[in-house]
């Protein structure tokens, strides 16, 4: 019974009143309050998300003035409330709407852009070092002649005869397969 009722409530919450606060920033369960401007009526530990759509305690702790009147009317028939009154009641309980929670955010673009800027600085530095600071050439075992000689040695010793170089060498005709 409770599961059915909850499903109905949540589906109502997602279908109706989707444009309650179109400019609401989706953050940590509602608009963030600064310490010096904290409204004592607002629940500071209010948290809502897609996995916790109906918090236990509402966003508004104390209903005063018009909200108190609306709360009394909420007890009665909801059809007697106007759309604006319903929206006020909704806003007093919740911080944001389901549609806002599901909306795609674009913060990742800023993060990606900043990351790319830092990466490009690193690449510029690498290019500078490569062009102006690189030491003179020293022989290594990665030179073409050395690598060819080592491959020849591997073929002569039949190293890697299943998946290595020897497996690709045609010993009968002395050439690559």
């Amino acid at each position: 019974m409770l599961r059915v009722a909850l499903h109905r409530v949540v589906s109502h919450r997602s279908v109706h009143l989707t444009k309650v606060r179109p400019s609401m920033v989706v953050g940590f369960g509602g608009p963030v309050q600064l310490a010096e401007n904290r409204d004592p009526n607002v629940n500071p530990i209010f948290h809502e998300s897609l996995t916790n759509p109906i918090p236990d305690k509402p966003r508004t702790l104390k209903y005063t003035g018009d909200l108190a009147t609306l709360k009394e009317m909420e007890v009665g028939d909801w059809k007697k409330l106007s759309v604006e009154e319903q929206m006020d009641l909704y806003n007093s309980y919740f911080g944001t709407s389901i549609a806002d929670m599901c909306r795609d955010q674009d913060g990742w673009k800023s993060v990606l852009g900043a990351g790319m800027i830092f990466i490009s600085f690193g690449l510029l530095l690498h290019l500078f070092i490569h062009l102006y600071i690189n030491p003179p050439y020293v022989w290594t075992t990665l030179d073409e002649d050395w690598v060819k000689a080592s491959i020849k040695r591997q073929i002569q010793s039949h190293a890697g005869d299943i998946t290595g170089y020897s497996s690709k060498w045609d010993y009968a005709n002395n050439r690559w397969k």
Binding site: R3, L6, H7, V10, S14, L50, T51, N52, P53, I98, M101, C102, T141, D145, W146, A149, S150, K152, R153, Q154, S157, H158, A159, G160, D161, I162, T163, G164, Y165
Partner: protein, 229 residues
């Protein structure tokens, strides 16, 4: 020896090596299956359709996703145990050699019919001839006969080293004060390289292993030469 882009296991020259490669491929296949399943689950959850996750539970689902992974674990564990017993199972070695790790070189001793004791140091890069392998060539290689059951007893003189031969799927820790025994058998003659696989100090990366498997005649000639030298 393989190109730098080679990421698979090396070709094996022993029976156990083939079994190890097969088991490795099978384990990776299981891992890929699990990884794909988990990634698909992440992709499905990302769609934000599952609003009331916190309010629903399912005992059947929890039972299923605890029960079925047991079969995956058994399928990985049983071959692993089988392979372990196969590798550790003793067989009579025709020859016995001793490998001793030092900082930072290997020494090989043999005492079956000719006493010999030789040290194997890495050839520095400056002294290499064109075509030789950097950090792998040594001055004295260990020469062994192929198609022969050989018992190797591996220990260390100072700190822990590890005697490794990837082509023979061998890795044995050389622990001071302890003799670790491993059996070695190569199908065919050839030249196999390895490197120390347990951090042992400054020149840990510069104490390679080079084993050559040859026919009996060459082996006996070599052993006789070493014992006289």
């Amino acid at each position: 020896m393989y190109p730098y882009t080679f990421i698979q296991l090396t070709d094996s020259n022993t029976f156990f090596g083939h079994e190890i490669v097969l088991f490795h491929d099978f384990s990776l296949a299981s891992l890929m299956f699990i990884l794909t399943a988990v990634l698909l689950m992440f992709k499905a959850l990302k769609k934000k359709k599952f609003v009331v996750l916190a309010y629903k539970g399912s005992n059947m689902l929890e039972f299923l996703w605890t029960f079925f992974p047991v079969f995956i674990l058994i399928s990985i564990g049983l071959p692993s145990l089988y392979l372990m017993y196969l590798l550790e199972g003793s067989f009579k070695g025709d020859l016995t050699f001793k490998v001793v790790g030092h900082q930072w070189y290997w020494s090989y001793e043999g005492g079956d019919f000719c006493d010999f004791d030789m040290s194997s140091y890495m050839i520095p890069s400056e002294d290499l001839v064109e075509g030789q392998f950097r950090l792998l060539e040594v001055d004295n290689t260990m020469v062994l006969p192929y198609s022969t059951n050989i018992r190797l007893m591996i220990t260390s003189y100072d700190v822990i080293h590890s005697w490794t031969l990837p082509s023979l799927k061998m890795k044995v820790d050389a622990v001071p004060g302890r003799l670790n025994t491993m059996n070695i058998f190569s199908f065919q003659p050839g030249s196999f390289y390895g490197q120390c696989s347990e951090i042992c100090g400054l020149l840990h990366s510069f104490m390679p292993i080079h084993v050559e498997f040859v026919n009996w005649e060459t082996f006996l000639n070599n052993v006789t030469e070493e014992s006289f030298n």
